[in-house]
């Protein structure tokens, strides 16, 4: 690259945007790389420690205690974790809700910060604080065999649809909270949500909804999730609102366009 060539290149219109793009790519990748390195290095460091509970405690102190207190006793901005059980931790952390990204009214499902091993460690630690619901194992989650889809639908519509919508698409609560969509949620997490009652969701104890009934609900949710559209594009599965919009825009709008064509003189 001669100086002359460089100075010629420098004067072209496209140079500035290209350089900017390049800079963004470099900085962005560098950040991602360094950020990733930080977490993994932390994990590899603590692998050298003794038990899972200790590891969990380490992670807790590093990432959770600033809101939940040094002994998980809770505080003004976060509830106590004593007695919430391993199930709560697995639900909140493995779905990425915790740690919360910002202090809004609702913890949103997002990409988890901690990997499976770290989540298990956290859960093990919190479980030692006081007795609480355990993480359901594979033996407990035999919904394919032991669940009844139709019965699950009945249970869902009575106990869940008023918040999560009859098709599990989610719904509005007060003051900006919402019951999230249940599509693409792991069966384990659905079970844990029912037994722990995260945030606004109430607790559905095993006497109110038996374990078999919970499996039926999960089986029904999975059936709805995997159900292919039977009548055409589902228009968001929100019902009359989008249907009306489609009727006006796609129906009347299209027909008015055709009417304009119909009444214009041909060349």
């Amino acid at each position: 690259m001669t100086v002359k060539k460089l100075s010629r290149l420098r004067r072209r219109k496209i140079t500035a945007p290209v350089l900017l793009l390049l800079a963004l790519i470099v900085v962005g990748n560098a950040y991602a790389f360094i950020g990733a390195t930080v977490t993994t290095s932390g994990a590899t460091a603590s692998n050298a420690r003794s038990t899972m509970v200790d590891e969990g405690r380490e992670i807790f102190l590093r990432g959770c205690s600033s809101c939940h207190g040094l002994n998980a006793e809770g505080g003004g901005i976060a509830p106590s974790l004593i007695g919430v059980g391993a199930a709560s931790v697995d639900f909140q952390v493995a779905t990425g809700r915790m740690p919360m990204a910002d202090m809004s009214v609702q913890a949103m499902r997002k990409t988890p910060v901690y990997n499976a091993e770290e989540t298990a460690a956290l859960a093990a630690y919190v479980a030692t604080l006081a007795p609480g619901p355990a993480i359901p194992g594979a033996a407990q989650l035999t919904y394919e065999r032991d669940g009844n889809t139709a019965e699950g639908g009945e249970l869902f519509r009575t106990n869940c649809a008023m918040c999560h919508n009859a098709a599990g698409q989610g719904g509005a609560l007060t003051q900006g909270k919402h019951a999230p969509s249940l599509m693409g949620v792991e069966p384990r997490h659905i079970y844990e949500a029912m037994i722990t009652g995260p945030q606004s969701m109430p607790v559905f104890g095993d006497k109110a909804i038996t374990p078999e009934e919970k499996l039926s609900i999960i089986k029904w949710i999975k059936a709805v999730e995997n159900e292919k559209s039977l009548g055409g594009a589902s228009l968001g599965k929100v019902g009359p609102v989008t249907e009306g919009l489609m009727g006006w825009v796609g129906g009347i709008g299209l027909l008015i366009g055709i009417a304009v064509w119909l009444t214009t003189k041909s060349r």
């Binding site: 139709a150 639908g153 649809a161 009548g231 594009a233 929100v238 609102v241 119909l262 009444t263």
Partner: protein, 532 residues
């Protein structure tokens, strides 16, 4: 020897004519002139949608069972197998999954219903904003208001027939409105439902209303509506060659027949296309109706959405006296406000005629800008309805746009009082500004953007004169003067009925005083040719 085709046609025509003798009437009719404008086809969309509803609906009646008797479902939709449900719901599931073409017909029927009502609303707006409801068409306007009211009821009853969770909730709410009526409410509700809610007779009863009574009345009203249009001849937009005493367009045969007939097939085709690719009212997702269940994000169909929105934003007003309850929070949004709106709508032609003092026949339409007050009132009413409609979907809007239902509720509670008057003022100003623009255009011509330097150094922009046709279209409208106030006579005596007349004169002044005067021929002459 005439060709075979002509001979057969001739003998058929002869057969009919010898019994009916309609040759002269047919000749006149086949040459009847229809003006051609896309905005005149909105009513056609409604008419054709109604025919589609009749056809697809008849298909559905062959399989639908209008009964609330409970049975255990044993059809092909697995997630509901073994569930207790009404025969109505089960038969709708059968139509959707076990009758070939059933899902298609169900969807075509429901899409056609949405289009029917949307087209009626669009058509009504066109008629309103162009002043087509003026004498001699006031009766047709009233018929139209009746048709749209019947359409709304018919649609509500129609989507309630499958007895699913979503529409059953709507029926619960309708029953609550009925029940809330003072004095006779509980009796009306018990008579309608054959006892307590939900009972066993409501679906069979509304089936008769939906399939026989209302379609029959609608068909009869549409017939009168169309006969009036036929007899009074269609209105037309102002323009060169068009006067109050003629109608300019194309003859029924062959052009109008081909275009209107073709449009029927197009509307049917578009509706069938929607039925093919877009899912609507997937009742299997909602489940059968039971009063102990409800789905988040429950709304009625759009044409009732504004009513739902009004009910949602109502303040919690109830009054109690002597062991009696009056639920203003239900009566006002559910009955009183809609009652006022539809009554006002039906009476509008008479209100406007009274206010402007205009008792003449009108066959030329108004350009909306030339009737600023009417246009502004129309936009105001639309704004009101749209704010209510938005509130009807507040929970869906909240989840999809990250707002809170509380925010939306308060926003619409305030907007519904603030936005309509604002819309009135803004629309009126825009209309007057457009009138001013028209006047400028006629007097000074179109700006071409070409600059010319005159010898003494001045720059002028060349204006292109409007053609006589364009100029005429912009100036052929009438500008009425406000009604004068009856004066007190020389002896100081007030004429009789003066308060009513004063109100009327005041209103007509508000409507008619503020107009931008049309340019006259003289003004045009004075301006000479196009340089400016």
């Amino acid at each position: 020897m005439k060709p075979a085709r002509e001979r057969v046609a001739g003998s058929v025509a002869n057969f009919v004519d010898e019994r009916v003798g309609a040759a002269r009437y047919l000749k006149k009719s086949l040459n009847k002139v229809f003006p051609d404008h896309w905005s005149f086809m909105l009513g056609e969309i409604a008419l054709y949608s109604f025919i589609i509803l009749l056809l697809s609906g008849t298909f559905l009646t062959f399989w639908f069972v209008p009964s609330q008797e409970e049975l255990i479902y044993n059809g092909s939709y697995v997630p509901l197998k073994g569930i207790k449900m009404s025969a109505a719901y089960a038969s709708t599931l059968d139509i959707s999954f076990d009758v070939r073409g059933g899902m298609l017909m169900r969807q075509v029927h429901h899409w056609a219903a949405l289009l029917f009502l949307a087209a009626m609303v669009a058509h009504m707006m066109r008629v309103f904003f162009t002043g087509a409801f003026r004498k001699p068409r006031e009766l047709n306007w009233v018929l139209g208001v009746a048709l749209i009211t019947l359409g709304i009821v018919e649609g509500f009853l129609g989507y309630s027939l499958p007895d699913d969770l979503l529409s059953g909730t709507g029926i619960r709410i309708a029953e609550a409105i009925l029940q809330a009526i003072p004095v006779v409410g509980t009796y009306a509700a018990f008579f309608a439902f054959g006892g307590a809610f939900p009972g066993l007779v409501f679906i069979p009863r509304i089936y008769t209303v939906h399939v026989l009574l209302i379609p029959g009345i609608i068909l009869a009203l549409i017939t009168v509506h169309l006969m009036l249009v036929w007899y009074q001849k269609h209105t037309q937009y102002p323009g060169p060659g068009r006067t109050e005493k003629n109608v300019v367009g194309y003859p029924l045969m062959p052009v109008y027949m081909a275009k209107a007939g073709g449009f029927f097939f197009i509307v049917f085709g578009v509706t069938a296309f929607l039925g093919a690719v877009a899912s609507i009212n997937p009742i299997w997702v909602f489940g059968p109706y039971t009063p102990t269940q409800i789905s988040a994000g429950s709304q009625p169909d759009w044409y009732m959405g504004w009513l739902d929105g009004l009910v949602r934003m109502s303040p919690p007003l109830e009054t109690y006296f002597f062991n009696r309850t009056i639920s203003w929070n239900i009566l006002i949004p559910g009955l009183i406000v809609p009652g006022i709106m539809f009554t006002g709508l039906a009476l509008w032609p008479f209100i406007e005629a009274w206010a402007t003092g205009d008792k003449r026949e009108h066959h030329l339409l108004d350009r909306p800008r030339n009737a600023p007050t009417r246009t502004a009132v129309g936009v105001m009413a639309l704004t009101f309805t749209i704010v209510a409609l938005i509130n009807g979907g507040n929970d869906i809007i909240a989840t999809h746009f990250s707002l809170t239902i509380n925010q939306i509720m308060w926003a619409t509670r305030i907007s519904i009082f603030v936005l309509p008057p604002l819309a009135y003022v803004i629309t009126k100003r825009i209309c007057l500004a457009l009138q001013r623009a028209d006047r400028d255009l006629v007097l000074h011509g179109r700006e071409t953007g070409r600059l010319v330097m005159l010898p003494h150094g001045e720059f002028v922009e060349i204006h292109e004169e409007l053609s006589p046709q364009e100029a005429f279209t912009r100036t052929s409208h009438e500008q009425l003067a406000p009604i004068p106030v009856a004066a007190i006579d020389a002896n100081g005596v007030r004429p009789k009925g003066v308060l009513k007349d004063r109100i009327r004169a005041r209103i007509s002044k508000g409507i008619l005083q503020e107009q931008i005067a049309k340019p006259t021929a003289k003004e045009k002459l004075e301006l000479g040719d196009g340089h400016h």
